[in-house]
Subunit: 246 residues, 2 copies
DNA sequence: GAGGTTCTGTGGTCTAACCACACTCTAAAG
DNA sequence: CTTTAGAGTGTGGTTAGACCACAGAACCTC
């Protein structure tokens, strides 16, 4: 995005230079996950720029989930490299939804796409599946609606992770916030929450069972129907909700 | 991401406050697409923070593709609200690929997933399809390999847009950089580029034809085979490359 | 009226301070 | 000797104020 744009007369802004330097360090492996960036003042001196510019670059990386900044000293302090792709995608999605340029219906549709794909190829031995099962247990005896929804989102996230595709997992994770936010609003439209919750639990069990029977196709269909059914029941179905099919 | 973290003793950083304020303005519609933020100095005074903090917030928004900052005066100047979801996702993906936490194989796999889904439900009357056809024409007489690849990426991007899902389009767009970067590297492994290029063109035509015949299923299959075939020919197939199926 | 010239407001950058924090070291107290 | 209270050190967080480059607008001069 920043570099590679062969625009002559393009005066690269200073913080982008810092960004480029750090990205290069990441590419060459000189900076790896868990590694720490030089202190802001040090880095500023090294690159011959002001600390301000260094900080702007770090803010961007932080928003992207690439680093985490911590004050003080010790292992928790300093600016350390992390890997949280979800952070960037999630914030970006939320912001663009705020500008009304990413319709909620599209998000639901995308969720169905990603999730049905993921369960269709979920690995039976994935630890994420075990986590999903555990979450399902918790949901069995969960009286609170909000807590139930939170668990529900985590359950679906776990399903998405079971396919073992980091990009798909990250994208699903980034939808999490958006999903939880309006899923909560939708419960108000439901006539009988207890009945709905019971149905959701039952459907979750069916999905897990299908996965364990290595019946990916069925699992995908169940997931699609599950999500679709919820939004339809709440009166806000995606504009075209059947999953990827061919 | 920023708020909602119910951590007591959590001192929100100043630039996050600015971020929150701006996001709120976007949500309520007081700031809309094409609108201009108050000048940095003005905003700093309004929110009773330093200009530095305002700038850090703006840097983040800029990286997310939410605003564009321009110097000088006139319509091109100032900090303007834009909508470029691709920017955020693209940069984030590139950075996380740099940290080796998003395997290329996963990206290819995700590309196949999104793209085959998109063509399966492409709207025949979509302007994106017309653009795809135009790009195809250009590729017919394109001697340069790099240029051909650039056109190829744009062609596939247009296909993804034809489904009319903004989120899917944004995600595909964000993969663009990553795709083009290693697609270029892969050409070195090809024994006969001219032959390959001819085949790719032919496959593109088939895909477009299938879409226009409203045969989404066939189109999806063709796209999957098309992408998969290329990477296999170059000796770097995704680890599991068949598209969503049920 | 056409052509410069100055004015004004914008973001871009830098410096130099100060703060809060969390660990580390040290020296006094027991 | 152990414990503990305090100073020391290095980190990011924040601020104020200054200066620059830029681009349009308003103003003059010819």
């Amino acid at each position: 995005m920043w570099s590679n744009h062969i625009k002559y007369h393009w005066h690269m802004r200073t913080h982008q230079l810092v960004l480029q330097w750090i990205e290069n360090q990441l590419s060459t492996g000189e900076l790896a996950l868990g590694g720490r960036l030089p202190a802001e003042r040090t880095l500023a001196e090294q690159l011959q720029v002001s600390r301000t510019s260094v900080r702007e670059a770090i803010r961007v990386l932080e928003a992207m989930g690439v680093v985490r900044a911590g004050v003080g000293s010790g292992p928790e302090a300093g600016t350390v490299v992390i890997a949280d792709p979800t952070a960037a995608l999630g914030s970006a999605l939320r912001l663009h939804v705020a500008t009304s340029h990413l319709p909620v219906a599209d998000i639901v549709q995308t969720r169905i796409l990603l999730e049905s794909w993921a369960v269709a190829r979920a690995r039976t031995d994935s630890p994420a599946l075990a986590e999903a099962a555990a979450l399902l247990e918790k949901m069995e005896a969960c009286p609170d609606t909000d807590e139930f929804l939170a668990l529900d989102v985590r359950f679906h996230l776990a399903l998405a992770e079971a396919a073992g595709n980091a990009v798909v997992s990250a994208m699903m994770g980034s939808l999490r916030e958006a999903i939880q936010s309006y899923a909560g609003k939708l419960t108000a439209n439901l006539p009988d929450w207890d009945a709905t919750a019971a149905r959701l639990r039952a459907e979750h069990r069916e999905i897990l069972a299908a996965i364990h029977k290595h019946d990916g196709g069925t699992a995908a269909g169940l997931v699609a129907a599950h999500i679709e059914g919820y939004y339809k029941e709440a009166g806000l179905g995606p504009r075209d909700s059947d999953p990827a099919r061919q």
